[in-house]
Amino acid sequence: MSYSDVTAPKFSPEAKKEFDELCSRYPNKMAPLLMVLHLAEKEFGYLSIEVQEYVANLLELSPAHVQGVCTFYTMYKLEKKGKIRIQYCATLSCAIMGGEKVFDHICSKIGVSRKGGMSEDELVSVEKVECLGACDIGPMMLANDETHGNLTPEKFDALYEKWKSKNA
């Protein structure tokens, strides 16, 4: 998947259409911001400083305001993440089902420290997040939009192989 240029951003015609539709849902230009940021993230890969300023100009908001919103919410990617972005649940129900152990395994498997990070081949990145609302299948994670629960080291290894072969 190729992204539009993140350093000199401009919405494609399709994205601009979606942008206009989003704006039509609200009575002012500030309210569409969160949805527009999701759109921009999809279009450009992540919300670089240039993308943030681009969005600010489109919506006639101050760039500082947009930066404040981008950094308040944990989901927005402010830097490049892996092709498969793992958001790993670190909260209570998953933790008491052995979540830490599986997280450690994931980190060592993809070659990052226990703080999380992105694999060198930029295929997978992992980061800890708080409760993802799938507590009955903990330990669990979101890999992009896919939910994977009842995780074990073996289960992760199988997924990892699948991702690697798909993106070879």
Binding site: R25, P27, N28, M30, A31, P32, L33, L34, M35, L37, H38, L59, L61, H65, G68, V69, F72, Y73, T74, M75, Y76, Q87, A90, T91, L92, S93, A95, I96, M97, G98, G99, E100, K101, R114, V129, E130, C131, L132, G133, A134, C135, D136, I137, G138, L142, D145, T147
Partner: protein, 426 residues
């Protein structure tokens, strides 16, 4: 009492139940035969209480919005569901989206609202897509949009995705986020019923609460009240997770004994050789109960409240003896410190302070005086803030200290975790 699957009747499936199966919005059709005041009366009579966590009577909330105003009115469906241990709304939205949309339409008709936003947490992208599709097909069949069912009632429903912030589940934090800002809860009064979204009268209700409106209008308030207790009528969806054999979402009448949910429905403790150490009844903001106390209680707002906890979101977490409760508490303090919005000092600094204090005690760097300080700091975080996020961690901390003090003391004495268990939290 076994499960009573009124809301969840069609949730046992792989794919969502789209309109071809859901059929006509018959509850909405019935609603149009009544005037808005009568609909609100029905909701009041049924006694539906907010299912997000606060338990506020929904009909009463709807009646707070003035009927005749010069401004537009809004409904925000709170689908932010971020309370740890809670995952019921996702199930409903992913499996039976139209039950929510129909419930929204009923509320909007009753209150006189023309635009509704479903504020859904960003981490539910599948549910958001399903809702988008459901809205589109409902519009096509004239069940939403302009002149619904040729009754002269217009309603637009939009899906608005959050991006990862627990505090946006707080009513006014949600409003701020919907308005394109950081999710800082507002100072109240004024209340959203008068000044809410974009400064206009607004109703904010949980997914399950709105879905329940379809039950009330389809079958009448009497049927809704026929299960549950007098003050806690109807059914509630409980999300059960942790150390039980069958975790999942279960819809049961309020008033069902805790014992029945954990043992009969969820199959009892996960491990036969590890008894239950602690029960958190309603999401991590609900103070923990010892198993002895928990097993004597029924699952309704009053009984759980009287026992010093709360029914909350119904996100029950069962913990056995294989984990260290102090580590559990640390995990919770870390959650609230991460999620504090930061705008007011007792919460911003207090959540951070509780986290570091619990961490020190857990790792053997605490003293008995620290326990008093921990309790005092937690006490000071209650009643001094703009919203109740700080209370949501302060109260569990205090109750942990009260009900499970021996665990703190053993860590102080052993200068570390005497149970030598694997840490659940880094």
């Amino acid at each position: 009492m076994p499960e009573v699957r009124w809301l969840m009747e069609h949730c046992d499936r792989e794919d969502p139940r789209y309109l071809n199966e859901y059929g006509d919005y018959d509850a909405l059709r019935k609603t149009f035969d009544k005037d808005s005041a009568a609909v609100i009366e029905d909701m009041k009579s049924a006694g539906v209480r907010g299912r997000g966590g606060a338990g506020f009577p929904a009909g009463l909330k709807w009646s707070f919005v003035p009927q005749n105003v010069d401004k537009p009115k809004y409904l925000c469906c709170n689908a932010d569901e971020s309370e740890p241990g809670t995952f019921k709304d996702r199930v409903l939205m992913e499996k039976d989206p139209h039950i929510l949309l129909e419930g929204i339409a009923i509320c909007c008709y009753a209150v006189g609202i023309g635009t509704a936003y479903i504020y859904i947490r960003g981490e539910y992208p599948i549910a958001a897509r399903i809702l988008d599709k459901a809205i589109a097909e409902a519009k096509e069949k004239n069940l939403l949009g302009k002149n619904i069912m040729d009754k002269g009632f217009d309603l637009e429903i939009y899906v608005h995705r959050g991006a990862g912030a627990y505090i946006c589940g707080e009513e006014t934090g949600l409003l701020e986020s919907l308005e394109g800002k950081r999710g800082h809860p507002r100072i109240k009064p004024p209340f959203p019923a008068l000044i809410g979204l974009f400064g206009c009268p607004t109703v904010i209700n949980n997914v399950e609460t709105l879905a329940a409106a379809t039950l009330v209008m389809r079958h009448g308030p009497e049927r809704y009240k026929s299960v549950g207790t007098e003050k806690s009528p109807g059914t509630k969806m409980f999300s059960v997770s942790g150390h039980v054999k069958k975790p999942g979402v279960y819809e049961i009448p309020l008033g069902t004994p805790v014992k029945e949910l954990i043992y009969d429905i969820c199959g009892g403790p996960l491990r036969d050789d590890s008894p239950i150490q602690c029960v958190i009844p309603g999401g991590s903001s609900a103070p923990p109960l010892t198993p002895e106390v928990a097993m004597e209680l029924t699952l309704d707002y009053e009984a759980i409240g009287a026992a010093g906890s709360m029914l909350g979101s119904g996100g029950m977490i069962v913990i056995d003896e294989t984990v260290c409760l102090l580590d559990v508490l640390y995990n919770m303090t870390r959650f609230y410190a991460d999620e504090s919005c930061g705008q007011c000092t007792p919460c911003r600094e207090g959540t951070s302070w509780l986290e570091t204090m619990v961490h020190r005690i857990e790792h053997g760097e605490g003293t008995l005086e620290d326990l008093d300080l921990l309790d005092e700091a937690a006490t000071n975080m209650c009643g001094t803030t703009i919203c109740v996020l700080s209370d949501s961690i302060a109260m569990p901390v205090r109750v942990f200290l009260k009900n499970f003090r021996h665990i703190f003391e053993s860590h102080i004495e052993a200068k570390g975790c005497p149970h030598k268990m694997e840490m659940v939290s880094a």
